[in-house]
Symmetry: C2
Subunit: 211 residues, 2 copies
DNA sequence: ATGATATCGATAACATATTATCGATATCAT
DNA sequence: ATGATATCGATAATATGTTATCGATATCAT
């Protein structure tokens, strides 16, 4: 059994950003302390689960008062690595790629897409939201020189594996994959699939059950 | 204990589109039969898990031969409701909204975004990818008249709850939420959060563990 | 035909995640 | 000060999801 002190379950980790959003809202409303009960209520979670998650951040709550909002925000932000921002590159400047490049919100999540790549000459050497688009042939040189660790894949399914390989060759350690394919990678590389189809499956199932 | 014959776990459901993609690839390569072992190998899953998932589709495999690819494709497609397409509306025609409107791929997932809404007059009454953008004030009338059941929310966080309420009032049963907030909804309504921040959390954690 | 083998499908063991229970403690009202 | 109460945090119970085991069966080679 691996009881790493630093290990945190993926489900728990995925909940953290939710807590953070919620806490920011509350802080904005002038709230300084909040109980796990209330959080659970408003986020439709089990209070015990919330307490467990929050305990994981190292913040300790006070009976009758709850947790210090600022302290929670600080620790969750730290835990999620939103402070020390990660630089990333994006490959595939289609509609979706463009949307992600234009999205200002990633900064607050500690992600900073610094450059993009595409094979289409007509898009290259432009800027989108201040980020320059290079031809794919430049990727290895740039990624390794800039020591980029995250690659975002927004190319068509059929090209995704090749791009993935290229990214890993260039030194990328984690891949955010928007292409609907399973990517083959070495053990030490993480692939996070952004899985629209899977979400749709759940929506569709819900509608089926309603009928 | 609820042992509904029709119930399928969410994790399993989320895996289904993966199988489907993979099976299409294989079919394309001329493969007619495939074993759970091979699928598991290539998708980095446990073979038993694959068998369980496939069993859930109703297809029965043959020892030594494996499962019939066409049959699997058919049944999974059915299970996921990709045949009887669901019509949806999208609210919030910003960068992301536009990208989703332009994405042709949803059709094959049984999702059809038919119209979009926004409050910005300057975007209204145009078409994006053949889908007309209406002013938000028209939403209730249109959604209820067209009997739309799915709403896609791509508005800023602060407006999301209001839009959500509006959609539900108009008769929507399932919501695909891209705004980073927790939406409060009645029990019978499903919210599927597309959770970029959560995915980023996992990426970031991986990088932290590498260091 | 017969035996070897790949594969299935069912059951059981295990791991993980969620929920329930309960004693301890800080705050608040009296 | 004192007692009532909300809340925490630890431990236990449950549920869910994953993995292992194993007998049964269809195919293939001899």
């Amino acid at each position: 059994m691996r009881t790493n002190i630093d290990s945190i379950s993926k489900p728990a980790l995925r909940r953290m950003p939710h807590y953070l959003n919620y806490l920011y809202e509350k802080k904005n409303d002038g709230v300084t302390h909040i109980s796990s009960t209330v959080i659970a209520e408003e986020l439709d979670l089990n209070p015990v689960k919330v307490r467990k998650d929050l305990a994981r951040t190292g913040v300790i709550g006070k009976p009758k008062t709850g947790f210090d909002v600022d302290e929670l925000i600080l620790n969750i932000t730290e835990l999620l690595g939103y402070n020390n921002s990660h630089e990333a590159v994006l490959v595939g400047v289609g509609q979706l790629g463009r949307a992600l490049l234009s999205y200002k919100g990633f900064a607050s999540y500690g992600l900073n897409i610094v450059v993009a790549f595409d094979t289409d000459e007509s898009i290259c050497n432009r800027k989108i939201n201040g980020k320059k688009v290079f031809h794919l042939s430049k990727i290895k040189e740039l990624v390794s020189r800039l020591k980029i660790r995250i690659g975002v894949i927004t190319v068509p399914a059929k090209n995704a594996q090749d791009i993935c390989d290229l990214l890993i060759e260039s030194g990328v350690l984690a891949i955010w994959n928007f292409a609907p394919v399973h990517l083959k990678v070495p053990d030490n590389i993480l692939v996070q699939n952004e899985n629209m189809a899977a979400s749709l499956a759940i929506l569709s199932q819900h509608l089926k059950e309603k009928r």
